[in-house]
Symmetry: C2
Subunit: 220 residues, 2 copies
DNA sequence: AATAATTTTTAGATTAATCTAATTTTATTT
DNA sequence: AAATAAAATTAGATTAATCTAAAAATTATT
């Protein structure tokens, strides 16, 4: 199994994510959109990834990620998330600043480096956005997580992840006082627009929009 | 000043080093040898670096690094050496294992990351091989350093750097008990083959070859 | 100073990754 | 089911980085 280029790793990651961890097939256009590139470039890359047996590709039928492709993608994801933990825990970055830097660091090739980094960080199981970190074999456990929007009235929860990780959204959460680990109770739900009132840590009353409620994930 | 590619950064670094920090002109062949590539590739790259005003290039006359080229090279060197400190101090790597990994990490682009890493490491002034770390402005101080081979008999010193940083050499030093910071006294010099006897830390008597004596640098 | 040797550059190919425009295949809608 | 729309692929270019082989410039040596 030869080394993958940065571009190949990025495409594989996109296929992995868009396919729900390899469950469903993925269309060329959806990859192009995700990666902000053109469909023609995607077709080309899929042909190459297919030659390397990283994906199973039938023309005009979309792709599925292969087993070795899944393993490769999970290792990149593992690296990305470990570096994010490093940036937040050790270098004092805010959780909304780490994604771009981790996008670069995830391509560094050195199994020993990642093993040592993992040791140094104390084998974290989740990244700063609550996403699980695969182990060396690609195994990980998801916390059962539900969008706040789907929690019934008076339901309790703990914020474990966010669905959308773009910077603006994360900054908004910081501003209103929602963070990973915060305890939530849904005190009112407005049918009409999907907004709701919640109590954070038993003391801060917040009104949140449908958009926020759908992108904040809690255990229940 | 546009962003440089990995390849461009590597060439710039080579020019910087081969020119003694920009003092002398550098030939195409010497760059090709240093970078393990062909002279034709070097000519090509020098043309491109020249267009970006990173070097001053006159055909058939070799190159000189420009001021902005020097600044760019020093930033890459700064990153390389800070990452080496991180790998040794925090991730418990041995000094002979860090070069290759730092060759990758030095190309990560994020000024904030490097600032934070520098803070995290406590603003180190020297890397694990004793080489000075330039600051954000490219400024650094060399320790006055002399090869052991040039120390007069009975002369004292402290090991501050090594000239050759290849893995085999560093492992040899580990094996015989020479490390950065070790105190040395030259107890005997053999004219005939350049070998010498030294006392390390006042207690370990060592015979070292000319090759070792020329590549271990001490302050005196 | 002419010739030989060395160094450097250019010319022409190749590979990876990308693009636009054209074509082909599949899906949708009268 | 034929026509239209949408999606995906191919064809042909482009750019960066590399190579080999040939040509040109510089340096060294009779």
């Amino acid at each position: 199994m030869k080394k993958l280029s940065f571009a190949e790793e990025n495409y594989l990651k996109a296929v992995y994510h868009l396919s729900n961890a390899g469950e469903t097939d993925v269309s060329t256009n959806s990859i192009a959109e995700e990666m902000d590139t053109k469909a023609a470039s995607v077709s080309d890359m899929l042909r190459r990834l297919s030659e390397k047996e990283m994906v199973v590709y039938k023309k005009y039928q979309g792709v599925k990620i292969s087993e070795i492709g899944k393993t490769a993608a999970l290792q990149v994801i593992r690296k990305h998330r470990l570096w994010e933990v490093f940036l937040v825990e050790k270098l004092k970055f805010n959780w909304d600043q780490v994604h771009e830097i981790a996008e670069q660091l995830e391509h560094i090739k050195s199994p020993l480096l990642i093993q040592r980094l993992d040791d140094f960080l104390g084998h974290p199981k989740f990244d700063p956005h609550g996403d699980p970190i695969p182990d060396e074999n690609g195994l990980f456990k998801e916390k059962p997580q539900v969008p706040l929007a789907e929690v019934e009235i008076l339901g309790d929860g703990i914020v474990v992840a966010v669905k959308d990780t773009n910077s603006m959204f994360l900054q908004h959460l910081d501003r209103i006082g929602i963070y990973l680990g915060a305890k939530t109770k849904v005190t009112e739900k407005v049918e009409f627009d999907g907004s709701m009132e919640i109590l954070v840590d038993g003391k801060n009353k917040l009104f949140i929009s449908k958009e926020v409620a759908e992108n904040v994930l809690v255990t229940h």
